[in-house]
Symmetry: C2
Subunit: 389 residues, 2 copies
Amino acid sequence: MAEEEPGYGAHNLPYGVDERGHVVVAYGSFAIDLAALGGLSVPDEVLTSGSLNAFMALGPEAWSATRAEIVARLDELPMSACRAIGGLSLVLPFEVADYVDFYSSEAHARAMGQLLRPDADPLPPAWKHLPIAYHGRSSTVVVSGSEIYRPSGIVASDTGPTFAPSARLDVEVELGFVVGVGSARGRSIASDQAREHVFGVVIVNDWSARDIQGFEYQPLGPFLGKSFATSISPWVVPLAALERYAVAGPSQDPPPAPYLVTKEPRNLAINFELVLNNTVISKTDSGDLYWSMAQQLAHLSANGASTRTGDLFASGTISGNEAGRAGSMIELTNAGRDPVKLDDGSTRAWLEDGDEVVIRAWCGLKDAEHLDLGEVRGRVVASMEKDGP
Amino acid sequence: MAEEEPGYGAHNLPYGVDERGHVVVAYGSFAIDLAALGGLSVPDEVLTSGSLNAFMALGPEAWSATRAEIVARLDELPMSACRAIGGLSLVLPFEVADYVDFYSSEAHARAMGQLLRPDADPLPPAWKHLPIAYHGRSSTVVVSGSEIYRPSGIVASDTGPTFAPSARLDVEVELGFVVGVGSARGRSIASDQAREHVFGVVIVNDWSARDIQGFEYQPLGPFLGKSFATSISPWVVPLAALERYAVAGPSQDPPPAPYLVTKEPRNLAINFELVLNNTVISKTDSGDLYWSMAQQLAHLSANGASTRTGDLFASGTISGNEAGRAGSMIELTNAGRDPVKLDDGSTRAWLEDGDEVVIRAWCGLKDAEHLDLGEVRGRVVASMEKDGP
């Protein structure tokens, strides 16, 4: 039954959680309920606990063993353990512990610098020395399909700073990874130890209100401009499925500090497309990110900060150097000056109420064997409280 | 028995959690184990669940009822329900959901601006229009008494950016509050509704590595310079105990946006002293904070961000305008140029390994009836991995 969905074959097997709180694995157009499948080494209570956290906390040996056990059963799957994916209502796949958003794409960082600080060097001074990041809000990480309420906040206006619904609502195409096995306070995670900790990856849409962000962000960084919503895809693709898509990544000059040195190919070549109201407005990929997942994890823990099961790391907006390969509307529209054209004849400088944004991601060529990461989807709805509380 | 500790009388009754996971209330020099006391309306499982979260989630009516029930029992406390506070090992009183640190003291914001950006206006452009804040790391919020590992990170040096243990380790004296009842995504909390959500307050020490922070913080704010540790006091003083210490706070000009307007006295007059190796190096108080708890909560949720039981809000460093009333060493020492003198004859520009920092806080006059918030304590220990991973 896998043939209908070639991106979800035995080489993929991503994990999700259904509306009953059961851990499911996508295979073809079906979701395998692992507790119903039975016969796995993992205890049933881990597979029906409402999130992937308990399973992720078991660590890489359990992840490998479970994956091997599932693969061995694919030819004799009982229909009683399978549900059509179309009939599922997938929930947030893991409880988010801390959420951190990086700034790892050089093309994006340069573009933002040019747009926001035209008189300064586009790259912040520390940018090539360490993976710049900030902590985001965990409580507003939501699963694909969740409605996105247009945020209000204080924005600059001709009459001075004014509280209003954002008029510059934007998206950010990002790759996220989730920590399965945490680390103690006072310890750090070496850059070659990431696979002992990282369970898998998701697609991230880091919704952003550029006008709110622009007014508030100095000197402590973005806050209300980002904290209203971050959407993630419902399927977590295990790292084991992605190893064949590892690529070197761009060379790093100046050479990174020893704690950030990685010996192996450090990036994943994942294709992304950004779709606004059924029009593809950008295509990009994660192979050229400057800072890798392993470097992000090593950096975050280099000061002895602890990590926990469920920690979500996002790459920051993934942009390419070529036109049409930027992962945000602020870049694609030149800060709203050059709106994008949609297939229905309309244009968009920024998102309007009712707009639907989908980010899809996959590895390989879509018309050949490929590995699908699925999608993250969200529709913008009017601010519930346009005039403020 | 309350007489020995006049700051912990029937007017205070702060909540904590002991090493068995039981909810306890301080009264005099004793801790009342509420489950052992019995006869309360709150179910026993809420009182033995390892944190205050389940109790805080019950909401203001349950908080009031429980407080009244405890007060009614103070004259007939069975010794079987009491333990000497000196024999307790208090744990982190609540599971931290999201942690947000504000920047609410004008004297502190001006001092930091002058030290870090001497050529610019010391107050960031948005500072008087909204309470500036950033998300901190929840996983490293620790209870008083926890060791503080000196963080490493990339710092500027004569030979260029270098990975090293911080040489500018600092503290920040802050007031924190914890959310008991959260709010849904898409909704906001009105500035006059804070008491429906806020359970109580704690003392916060937001440990800071100024050299790491200085190198990394543009444009997304502090990250490794703050994320290694934040200490909180073990006793959560309920808001109900603090109402008599409400004060107006400084006038706000320009007038805040409607969603930030508060009608009642908005601040709490809490005295703080900062003690380094048994020498009091600063005295300050929270009555003059520019932005209040209610304003912080209204602001954080104004964009529709959800809040949850266990959300920790910190005020940012509390500094006064007068010399010796700054809540951080970077201010007290003029960025290390004028070290503070300790009673043992030594001096400190920044914290050394082995140094112990205590922040104490109370309302009222210490030699009269007062309300004690207790203390938050931490000792600096050497970086576990001086040379990096």
